[in-house]
Symmetry: C2
Subunit: 195 residues, 2 copies
Amino acid sequence: MDMYEQIDQSLSRYVSFSKEELEILNSLLEYRKVPKKTIMLHEGEVCNFEAFVVKGCVRKYFIDHNGFEVILQFAIENAWVSDISFSHYEDKPSRTFIETMEDCEFLIFSPETKEELLKRAPRFERAFRILFERNLSVTQNRLFNTISKTAMEKYLEFLEMYPTLPQRVAQHYIASYLGISAEFLSKVRAKLAKQ
Amino acid sequence: MDMYEQIDQSLSRYVSFSKEELEILNSLLEYRKVPKKTIMLHEGEVCNFEAFVVKGCVRKYFIDHNGFEVILQFAIENAWVSDISFSHYEDKPSRTFIETMEDCEFLIFSPETKEELLKRAPRFERAFRILFERNLSVTQNRLFNTISKTAMEKYLEFLEMYPTLPQRVAQHYIASYLGISAEFLSKVRAKLAKQ
DNA sequence: TCAAAACATTGAACTAGGACAAGAAAACAG
DNA sequence: CTGTTTTCTTGTCCTAGTTCAATGTTTTGA
């Protein structure tokens, strides 16, 4: 499957698009290869892309006032990553970083090309709204887990949700995603192992 | 200001609408008064409304496996409340409750009337997408706070964000929103008071 | 108006998870 | 292949926040 089929199928899960609409979509996307460990968005910058992950894995994170990363999102194949923290609409700089964790391939919108897509094929507005709804739903669920579950429970649920990630990324990133220290995750895993 | 002006102004912050578009909007909304302490959405139900709060205050929450509430959202005047946890699109029942905390007035969409609005005035799709983006941004920020800040810091930030809420709702709800115990919030406040 | 219920405070004992440190194991670049 | 860096583990000590319980305060509603 080529990457345009990949993104077309992914968006067609929410709304069914005509051949013409999909052609407009594909013609507006920019293909970009990005090597491992590249910071695609620095703190303070306004994010000027929305990227569909064709291949690879990125993380999006904040840095807290003690200098610790808090990972907000892992984006792997077929996920979208961007930072909309008010910044598009209020020109507030974001506190967010986006960084590749593997060599990656993306299909990318700039604000302008996205705008043009929505003008020429307005039905995409709906698909993107649904994407946001899901994203919100996932984030709310994660907030719930963060508040109400133990480290062990959170880790087990993480494994179900992202079964391949532990093989792909360093463990301390997972700890950061779960909101626990790397050392404590190690202890949780040790406990799990001897059961 | 009557309530239609109120909702029109609120949505016009994101997209400017014509008189005709706003008339369509207003004609499709249902006005509903709901007394205090009414559960508008029970766990397991599919949420069939999106409510704009004209007046009053509601909370949206999950119940964890120990029977404790975790508050996901307070919605006061000019906010929207609904539960989209996948349910609209996958018919999965939600774990969410929505409950009024004061006598409330709403302007309400059903899925059908919202659909009709978007068909007849598609530019609203954009305004609702922006609402979701902000909602996501707020939720991500809250996740960050929950993971990386102390109870004291979270409470202070909460006070800035919702300065009127402590006068309007019981303190243990605020504790639940912050992800700390009611007792500990009381201690945090005691500490604050003597400074 | 008053009893009941809900809410808030405070203290004492406890625990999940954090911070630090030191060593082992992997991964990585030259 | 080998030294360097990054990652992972394990132990010890520590603390922010929890739980439980008792008491006081406010709100409610009949």
